[in-house]
């Protein structure tokens, strides 16, 4: 599939999601798996806007999809500041309502629903996020 580069605006979430839904279909993933991939990519795109760029309209986000015999590999790149996933606290999903925090769910959903979630950063490449969904997924 062709790469897709979009400016970092929330309104482009629907476009990137349509793009990965098509990729998931081409990769032969189930409808459920496609929804999980769509969620992960939506969360990643929004995270890049919020954390790497620190707001909308600060830079582009490039997305590529590769389909092979194992499944679907998605790469997302940005040129914002380094994103350090270890700084995002995992949510306590067992906490009572009054103690529930309303942050941290995005990264959690990405990690739960994708088989591989890997963040890398270099000065030249920027942030490179690689996510893989296997056809025989853990879910």
């Amino acid at each position: 599939m062709k790469n897709l580069t979009l400016p970092g605006f929330y309104e482009n979430l629907a476009i990137i999601c349509e793009y990965v839904r098509q990729a998931a279909e081409q990769a032969g993933l189930s409808e459920k798996a496609a929804y999980e991939v769509e969620t992960a990519v939506d969360e990643a795109f929004a995270n890049i806007i919020d954390h790497a760029y620190g707001g909308e309209g600060k830079g582009d986000i490039e997305c590529s999809c590769v389909i092979d015999e194992k499944g679907l590999t998605i790469q997302m790149r940005d040129h914002g500041r380094e994103f350090n996933p270890s700084r995002i606290k995992a949510p306590n999903i067992k906490a009572p309502l009054s103690k529930r925090k309303d942050r941290g769910l995005g990264l959690y959903l990405m990690r739960q629903w994708m088989d591989v979630v890997n963040f890398e950063f270099s000065q030249t490449q920027g942030n490179v996020l690689t996510m893989v969904k296997y056809r025989e997924s853990k879910n």
Binding site: L13, A14, K32, R100, D102
Partner: protein, 111 residues
């Protein structure tokens, strides 16, 4: 995203269709906040036509539930939850925090 709201005697019905993501969650929050802002805290949310919800939408649900349940004055209940949305709610530990109804009628009848 499309939202329609209907005010009943004992509760408010909110129907949300399409995608709730970071682009549309503020509008979703505003629609629910308008109801709680008028001191009505018993809300049925019909999700039958909701296609996608991200963590931005889940945040709106949790914050609205906190607002509604404060001082035991009401609650937000969910009706007609599609399978994929149910999976997201389940994974996020939301199933314990919301009553789920198979159809709107029983949701409205709950109040």
């Amino acid at each position: 995203m499309e939202i329609t709201t209907t005010q009943y005697k004992h509760c408010d019905l909110v129907q949300v269709a399409g995608r709730v993501d970071s682009a549309t969650a503020p509008g979703f929050s505003e629609a629910l906040g308008k109801i709680t802002g008028e001191a009505r805290y018993r809300i049925v949310l019909d999700l039958s036509r909701l296609e996608f919800i991200s963590s931005a939408g889940l945040r709106v649900l949790i914050n609205t539930q906190k607002e509604c349940k404060r001082y035991n004055r009401g609650e937000l209940v969910l009706a007609c939850v599609p399978t994929n949305i149910h999976s997201a709610l389940d994974l996020s530990g939301f199933i314990e925090l919301f009553k789920l109804f198979p159809d709107v009628l029983t949701g409205v009848g709950h109040f």
